[in-house]
């Protein structure tokens, strides 16, 4: 598995070949492009818009979309495009927090249940049953209400509401792998539990877990937007996408205040879902 013999050019070529050999469909490539833009927006919003997202020009309020204001302006004369771009970091990173919580907590529960079996499995399975039985959005609302209303807590609550799904998938994957012949062989060769876990079980589970994590990322954006819509996220002048839509609903006579942030949200989630679907298909 050594690449020491290759020159840099050869190495680069083989990397390109590998990307080409994945045969990315155009729809998926477009989805990656959308995600790239969203990531760029969240890392360096200032590069994409020179306008102030917080202080507006009152005389310019409710301007429809134009060359100067791509998404129009809001009730305080703020450039909506700038507000969307500056709200990206918070919307995206909170979804990321939610997924990380889901993967780590849910993954550990599933791993323990599937790997140890017995009464541990029974207890954890019942716990997951309870979490699954509570409507996930209601669960997120309850948790965020107990943590306090801000965007980070909304992200944590969304993560908690996703724990059960990750636990279920992880458990199924672990049990599937544990029964495989090569795991038995590794065990007979004297492999420890930890070795089998790290070398066989986790790598095998990672593919479906990755697809699920990507899917949950999109879903988390929706759930967090929903919580922000109900007013459980950061208050204005924050400009999370859900909050922007929520503010826009009071000004439906100027519909771009709803449609522009909504379209950005939909395009992002659609792209994420497309990528997740592709990851699952190329298994």
């Amino acid at each position: 598995m050594s690449v020491a013999g290759l020159t840099t050019a050869e190495a680069r070529e083989s990397a390109l070949d590998r990307i080409r050999s994945l045969r990315v469909p155009p729809g998926v490539a477009l989805s990656f492009a959308v995600i790239a833009v969203v990531i760029a927006w969240s890392l360096a919003p200032g590069l994409f818009t020179g306008q102030d997202p917080v202080n507006g020009v009152p005389a310019d309020k409710f301007l429809p979309p134009s060359a100067a204001h791509w998404f129009g302006t809001d009730q305080l004369g703020r450039d909506l495009f700038s507000r969307v771009v500056h709200g990206t970091a918070s919307s995206v990173s909170s979804a990321l927090i939610a997924v990380v919580i889901g993967v780590i907590v849910g993954g550990s529960i599933g791993l323990l249940a599937g790997f140890l079996g017995g009464w541990v499995d029974t207890v954890l399975a019942r716990l997951v049953d309870v979490l699954l039985a509570i409507p996930s959005f209601l669960l997120a609302v309850i948790v965020v209400s107990s943590l306090g209303f801000d965007t980070t807590n909304a992200a944590i609550a969304t993560g908690v509401s996703a724990v059960a799904v990750f636990a279920r998938v992880m458990r199924a994957e672990v049990i599937k792998t544990r029964r495989a012949v090569f795991v038995e062989a590794s065990f007979l060769q004297g492999g420890s539990h930890l070795h089998i876990l790290a070398r066989h079980v986790l790598p095998n589970a990672s593919r479906s877990l990755l697809a699920l994590a990507v899917l949950q990322f999109g879903l988390s954006i929706l759930v967090i937007a929903g919580l922000a819509f109900l007013g459980y996220g950061d208050p204005p002048p924050a400009s999370d996408w859900g909050l922007l839509i929520s503010t826009g609903k009071d000004y439906l006579k100027w519909p771009w205040l709803v449609y522009a942030p909504a379209l950005v949200t939909i395009a992002t989630v659609l792209s994420v879902n497309r990528i997740s679907r592709w990851l699952r298909k190329t298994d």
Partner: protein
Amino acid sequence: MNGYLGFALRRLVQAVVVVLAAYVFTFVVVSVLPGDPVTNVLRNPENGFSEDEITRIVAYYGLDQPVHIQLWRSLSNFLTGDLGVSLRSNRPVADMIGEVLASTLVLAAAGLAVAIVLALAIAYGTRVLPARWGQGVLRSLPSLFLSVPNFVIGLVLIHVFAFQVGLFRVIDPESVWATLFAAIALGIPVSAQIAEVLITNLDHESRQEFAAVARSRGLSRARLFAAHLLKPSSLPVVTVLALTVGELLGGSLITETVFGRTGVGSLVQRSVTTQDLPVLQAVVSLAAAVFVVVNLLADLVYPLLDPRVRAVTGSTRRRRAVDDGSLGAGAAA
């Protein structure tokens, strides 16, 4: 039938345990928070509790007792069917839920009906439409539906049909048209999950030999769909339908806000901002109970509906139906 009875009993016990656990879970989540919400609510001058009332409520919930005794007390009340008294309005929680339950049930039922009709239409289209691109568009609809925040669907419907067309008025949320559009907003994301599973199953069944035979007999696509493909494909959907109950209840929280309806959702919202623990506990365990009962019924009815799985329990096939359908359906539920 002995095996079936044992299976039914086991599932019934599990269901009861899950509902009780949901009650305890809500208690733990809400009491874990920093600060003492109960005292905050009771001592809040805005709520206007007299000193007597506070003493009575504190005694009723045993708020002067350690947490585990509080939990034990409210759990034993819950077991006898007593949902407690609201900390905010000092009224029995059961009455408060009873007042708004009908409105939410109507919305949820209408949403489910919309979801089923829409999913069937999409699935039918993917089988019958002659043009390949038309089928492609229909096949991508479910994933589009799953990417739209459901409050956006509601706002778009309000913007178009209330503001532009003038079909209903926003200030009259319980009117038939307003209810219908609320149901559409609630049903669209749910229809995506049903449609995904239905389409996958239809694809699977249409590759079977009986479908090839029917096609060779010259059956039209519409006839093949109605007479041969629909029934085997829609049986596994029963379990998916049961799983969407949670989605309908959770989604009604937002839909009710968007359309300004009063219902369980708006009750939850009010109780969340006022930290009205007894109401939240009751609603969560009620939602869990509905979910568990519906899924229990689906599991119990399934072996009776489908002769292929009558011999075994329904659980294996149920899992297959959901996993095949796609991660999306399972995950979103």
